[in-house]
């Protein structure tokens, strides 16, 4: 009764294409000369031109912003994966008082709006003189990333067979040894998928970066909105940066396609 039809395939393709049009338009605008970009009716076919990319990267200093974003994302992924995998394993494999509350607390940590925490952290960081440092941004990104990683990885650790771990324990391995040498390798695909999501979250984050970064650590999402020329908003350059920013994300997303849904729902939907 689940009729698979070519008509449905065509219709679904049309729907997907419709959702895809803005993405195509972004890339096209990035590749247009100023003249083509201002032409009405909108030009769908034109001679591509790379000057927007060159201008954004070299004249507007986006190489630096790309570097800053990459440093913060890399730091975040290390902190979140180490803390998150330990916590997920502890919550999945052991029963102790307060376990349920901790699960909920981690969910809450993931759900709290970034701006709500960014405001008090801004005042605290100013007092402690750590504002506009990589460490501060990494710590705050790692806060929701650790909570996310804990929820996400818990499902992957649950799929590691207990029998293998128990036989290693009988053979005299320590709990930490079992975690490092059995659970981690067996949950490796989950760790990769989680890492990809953490990188994307950190890479795309705007609220923390807006409030907590400045000249030394400004990341891509904050910088892209400030792209202006004397003639007004530099749309060509903005679209070029958007395209550049999206490339690694798209690549990563394809890499973990199997676990995308799981990641977007912090492991709730498999």
């Amino acid at each position: 009764m689940r009729r698979h039809t070519w008509r449905a395939t065509v219709l679904a393709s049309v729907v997907v294409a419709f959702f895809f049009v803005p993405v195509i338009w972004t890339v096209e605008t990035a590749l247009k000369t100023k003249v083509d970009a201002w032409t009405l009716p909108p030009k769908w076919l034109f001679t591509p031109d790379l000057s927007n990319f060159a201008s954004a990267l070299f004249d507007h200093g986006f190489v630096t912003y790309l570097e800053n974003s990459a440093i913060v994302a890399a730091g975040t992924v290390v902190v979140a994966l180490v803390l998150g995998s330990l916590a997920a394993y502890g919550l999945e494999r052991f029963r102790f008082r307060g376990r349920e509350s901790l699960f909920f607390a981690f969910l809450l940590a993931y759900m709290i709006p970034e701006m709500s925490i960014a405001l008090p952290v801004y005042l605290l960081a100013t007092q402690f003189n750590i504002i506009d440092t990589y460490w501060l941004l990494i710590a705050m990104h790692a806060t929701f990333a650790t909570a996310f990683a804990t929820w996400m990885l818990r499902g992957f650790f649950a799929e590691v067979p207990r029998e293998i771990e128990e036989s290693a324990l009988v053979d005299g391995a320590s709990r930490l040894g079992v975690f490092l040498r059995i659970a981690i390798p067996l949950a490796a695909p989950g760790l990769v998928a989680t890492a990809v999501f953490v990188v994307i979250f950190s890479w795309n984050d705007f609220p923390y970066a807006l409030v907590l970064s400045s000249v030394n650590t400004e990341t891509l999402p904050v910088a892209v909105g400030t792209l202006k020329t004397p003639a007004g908003t530099a749309w060509g350059e903005i679209m070029a940066v958007t395209t550049i920013a999206f490339l690694p994300t798209a690549l990563f997303a394809l890499l973990v396609q199997r676990w995308l849904l799981r990641g977007l729902t912090f492991g709730a939907v498999k």
Binding site: P22, T143, Q257, T265
Partner: protein, 315 residues
């Protein structure tokens, strides 16, 4: 066979072992917990405390005055606060229900696709992977009245412009500006909704449908009386996650309208930012954040329960 379990010595050693494993579990969870206590719990305690004072956000070193719940009273009497709540509620209600309706349609459609499903799913997820701030900029460009692609085609169809359904430029009138934000959220997140519901559809058992066909049920009856009831847990999880996300919308608002025209699209999160970095009123900002945290707590509780229920096997 060893000693019977009831022997006191065996029982106490097992209890000792259980105690030991519990401690190991705590040790595994401790690093992340301590980290979150520093980066999250500490700022929360700090903001709760300072919501009781009158302070300058830009000059926190200046003298502060204890006003107890005064900030909360001023906040609840501030029309701009209620405006931001109203804007956010409208945004969430429209965005999430449109996403659910279209998402369900797309999910049912995907189920009937015979070829290239993987590619379609991969392409569908692209909007939700894009940098939200860039998504907002991209749509602002397309909505622009002078050179925007969307505005151009709406004018060509006589929807926009003099004599059309919408007379003034899209981001200039409060109602169309808010509608534009909803359109962007729908674009970003309908695919996500579709894919959760699609996964839910794929996991439904075949038997009820086979029985219904035997009993001569129409496709609509099958959908209404079998698909929908069986899908309700997946729907609950998807809708709740979307509500929580839409409640904290900031990036696309910041880059598309920045709350304007006036404060007609100022959402709760943008209001938080403006209280801090616009009005420099620490106490008022933190009182508002406290209310936001309470709302987050309530919604998270619902999500937690929905996830727990979804992971039970279907009855």
């Amino acid at each position: 066979m060893g000693f019977p379990d009831s022997l006191p010595a065996a029982r106490s050693s097992r209890r000792l072992a259980a105690h030991h494993t519990a401690l190991t579990g705590v040790a595994f969870v401790a690093p992340a917990t301590v980290f979150l206590l520093v980066t999250l719990a500490y700022p929360v305690v700090y903001l709760l405390f300072h919501s009781l004072f009158q302070e300058n956000f830009a000059r926190p070193e200046l003298s502060s005055q204890f006003v107890f719940l005064g900030n909360y009273v001023s906040l609840l009497g501030d029309p701009r606060f209620w405006n931001s709540v109203r804007v956010t509620v409208i945004f969430v209600a429209f965005a999430v229900s449109i996403e659910l309706a279209i998402g369900l349609g797309v999910a049912l459609l995907l189920q009937r696709v015979d070829r290239g499903r993987r590619i379609l799913v991969a392409l569908l997820l692209i909007p939700s992977m894009m940098m939200p701030i860039a998504v907002g900029l991209m749509w602002r460009y397309m909505f622009d009245d002078g050179y925007g692609m969307v505005a151009y085609y709406l004018k060509a169809l006589h929807v926009l412009g003099p004599g059309g359904l919408i007379v003034e430029p899209l981001l200039v009138r409060p109602i169309t500006a808010l509608a534009a934000l909803i359109v962007v959220d729908v674009w970003e997140w309908t695919p996500f909704m579709a894919l959760i519901l699609f996964a839910g559809l794929e996991s439904l058992p075949d038997e009820p449908f086979e029985a219904a066909v035997v009993d001569g049920a129409s496709p609509w009856q099958q959908f209404r009386f079998i698909t929908l009831p069986l899908l309700r847990r997946a729907v609950a999880v998807a809708v709740l996650i979307r509500i929580a996300d839409a409640m904290r919308v900031l990036d696309i608002v910041f880059s598309m309208t920045n709350g304007g025209p006036g404060t007609s699209t100022e959402t709760v999160q943008l209001y938080s930012y403006n209280l801090g970095f616009g009005a420099f009123n620490t106490g008022l900002a933190f009182a508002q954040v406290t209310l936001v945290l309470i709302a987050t707590l309530v919604v998270s509780r619902f999500i937690y329960r929905a996830i727990a229920r979804q992971q039970e096997p279907l009855a």
